[in-house]
């Protein structure tokens, strides 16, 4: 069983949503980024999204744009990203790691080679922001062949006609981008997210995780009552920048507490 599948099954038994934390590889440098990566699970991260730095992060807001710039200035690359995952795997065999980024560095490395190396490093899933279902055929088969889950994004603009196309070839989980916008900016309305998650569930049995614009433990708790996973990225990246790794890990602990509280509250109401 894939790590992602095992993790979602275990969380289902605990009756709570996953906390999915995003950080950027090599931000602000390799050593500090590795330390943060290694410490995320014990702070309460259930799944890690690991950003692959790219010069032109078109779907990202200021926090992650600046993170990418710092990472690249520190020598960040796809090769280093994979090395960091491999090092993480020396001590953590269970926490799923999903690489998130843009297609050009992957294309440059070669889809087949990249997927093979990612699997060797211990990567469990891929989110490639600028590879919609229309263009995914050049990467998806290689990911599948290596047992790597391919995670598709559903958005507020994915209508009933499009959703089946988006989720039909997904594995691991479906990532619902809760706002039409870039990362780390606006926050979605809870009721709208609940509607969208319900709509997506009609098309897939995969876990549905929600991200974009979720910053606080309270927001995380609210989304945790609706979805199978809560993705927090820009807020953690910003905390690490402003307060260092310790500050970022404090935020992760707070988010984890929020999500666990949501599970208790849900049990308490007998839902």
């Amino acid at each position: 069983m894939s790590r992602l599948k095992a993790r979602f099954q275990a969380l289902k038994a605990e009756n709570r949503a996953a906390l999915i934390t995003y950080i950027m590889a090599c931000d602000p440098d390799r050593e500090s980024s590795q330390k943060l990566l290694d410490a995320l699970p014990s702070a309460g991260a259930d799944i890690i999204e690991f950003g692959m730095p790219f010069t032109d992060p078109m779907a990202d807001g200021p926090a992650i744009q600046l993170a990418a710039r710092r990472a690249l200035a520190a020598g960040g690359s796809l090769a280093l990203t994979l090395e960091m995952v491999a090092r993480f795997r020396q001590t953590d065999r269970d926490t799923p790691v999903v690489l998130m980024g843009y297609y050009n560095p992957v294309y440059t490395r070669g889809p087949e080679r990249f997927c093979r190396e990612a699997a060797e490093a211990g990567v469990d899933g891929l989110i490639i922001v600028d590879l919609p279902p229309e263009e995914v055929d050049e990467l998806l088969p290689h990911a599948r062949a290596q047992g790597i889950d391919f995670i598709f994004l559903a958005t507020p603009t994915s209508d009933e006609a499009r959703l089946p196309q988006v989720v039909s070839r997904a594995s691991g989980f479906v990532y619902y981008v809760s706002i039409a916008g870039i990362t780390g900016t606006r926050s979605a309305d809870e009721a709208a997210v609940a509607d969208a998650v319900a709509r997506i569930r009609r098309h897939t049995d995969l876990p549905v995780c929600v991200g974009f614009g979720i910053k606080s433990p309270e927001q995380a708790a609210a989304i945790a009552r609706i979805a199978d996973g809560v993705v927090v990225g820009s807020a953690i990246v910003q905390a690490a920048t402003d307060l260092g790794n310790a500050g970022a890990l404090d935020l992760v602990r707070g988010l984890a507490t929020g999500i666990r509280g949501a599970a208790v509250a849900e049990n308490g109401t007998g839902k």
Partner: protein, 405 residues
């Protein structure tokens, strides 16, 4: 060279020109991109759409513009007859307006009220702000802070026309960064907003759509050449940033095997200097801004900054159809340095009384290299894609205080 029955059939239904093109965008934009494609396909079949496009090109833009026989440059270079396609005489001073007229009609058809665009030299920004004023639409232009500094007259022109000009500070603060921010804006305003892309690049259907709107350039050249000389030209030369003026000139002639076509990229300080904008000569295939094409990039697939004295050519990519035409060998691609372009700028100004845009000066510079080697009955069309008024300050700075004007 690959011999095909036609070079004019692309792209396929998925927007691919061979390996190039496509729709590499975030899922949020996909439904909208598909809607643009559907709307454009319907518009092309609607005679009323074509009629209004042609009417505005004739009565608002001032087309057809002349195919001018530049006798003094012809004499100086001593070979081919030099014919300048005068896109500089269009309303707003460049070829950019052709595409803007087409796309604003499409945006109106789609019910959009807010227009966004990216601009480098400011020519596309001015053209977009102009059509937004004409149609009473809200207009937001993304422009790199570096370009704002070197294209001040165009910035003010856009503001006069009612556009909001948003400075982009990221990266080298040029066209690539402006396009990133325009795409970010679009993702956040998908319902209300139409992205009026200025060149034959970006996700499908933009490369094909912009080419179609710009093909009026080549179609006019065909008619003008036939009327005056009773035959088609022998060669076509155009500068290439994204490549819309070049594809507009070339496309109607791609299946005329006798016609030689040359696209001229910006070599900046020289191809070996690392400071240039020649993505075909110095790049390799990659994915950026919604399409696969030749890109300036490092060995890890990180996009590199382009450099050109001409803000309109200062972009690390190129339209996907040019990438395909390069690989197929149908079009020849060369490059010209900043210095060569400046020399051609001064030459054309002094010899013909026409101040060309620095972009177009790249095409002139290459024409000057080859014209003398060609027979006197050779008809060479150079696309004078824009006028150089906007570049006067840049040229003055490059030539130095009191420099030889």
């Amino acid at each position: 060279m690959t011999n095909l029955n036609t070079y004019r059939a692309g792209p396929d239904e998925r927007g691919h020109f061979g390996l190039y093109g496509g729709r590499f965008v975030a899922e949020t934009l996909m439904p909208l991109i598909l809607e643009v494609e559907r709307a454009y396909r319907a518009a092309r079949l609607d005679p009323a759409f074509t009629e209004e496009f042609r009417d505005l090109l004739a009565n608002y833009v001032g087309r057809p513009n002349p195919l001018y026989h530049a006798r003094r440059l012809t004499g100086l270079w001593g070979g081919a007859q030099i014919l300048l396609k005068r896109e500089d005489l269009n309303h707003t001073g460049a070829h950019k307006i052709n595409n803007c007229i087409g796309q604003i009609l499409l945006a109106r058809r789609m019910g959009k009220r807010r227009i966004i665009a990216e601009t480098g030299a400011g020519q596309h920004g001015v053209a977009t702000a102009t059509v937004c004023a004409l149609f009473g639409m809200e207009c937001v232009i993304y422009m790199g802070a570096t370009d704002i500094a070197r294209q001040a007259p165009n910035v003010y022109r856009m503001k006069l026309l009612g556009a909001e000009v948003k400075p982009v500070e990221a990266g080298a603060a040029t066209l690539k960064d402006a396009m990133n921010d325009a795409l970010r804006d679009w993702v956040a305003h998908v319902d209300s907003t139409y992205y009026l892309i200025g060149t034959a690049a970006g996700p499908h259907p933009y490369p094909a759509m912009v080419r179609d709107f710009q093909s009026v350039i080549g179609e006019e050249v065909r008619a003008q050449s036939m009327a005056r000389y009773g035959r088609l030209p022998d060669s076509l030369v155009a500068c290439i940033g994204g490549g819309s003026n070049a594809i507009g000139l070339f496309h109607p002639f791609l299946d005329e095997p006798a016609i030689r076509m040359v696209g001229v990229e910006a070599a900046g300080h020289g191809l070996d200097s690392g400071k240039h904008a020649a993505s075909l000569a110095g790049g390799r295939p990659g994915v950026l801004h919604g399409n696969r094409t030749y890109l300036l990039q490092d060995e890890n697939g990180q996009i590199e900054e382009a450099h050109s004295i001409s803000a309109g050519l200062d972009y690390p990519g190129i339209g996907p159809e040019h990438a395909w035409l390069k690989d197929s060998g149908r079009v020849e691609y060369v490059s010209v340095t900043d210095t060569e372009a400046l020399d051609a700028f001064r030459l054309c100004t002094r010899m013909e009384g026409i101040i060309p845009a620095l972009e177009s000066s790249h095409a002139l510079a290459h024409a000057g290299r080859i014209a003398g080697t060609l027979p006197r009955d050779h008809l060479m069309v150079i696309n004078l894609s824009g006028r150089g008024d906007k570049d006067v300050a840049t040229v003055a700075a490059a030539l130095g205080e009191g420099g030889p004007v």
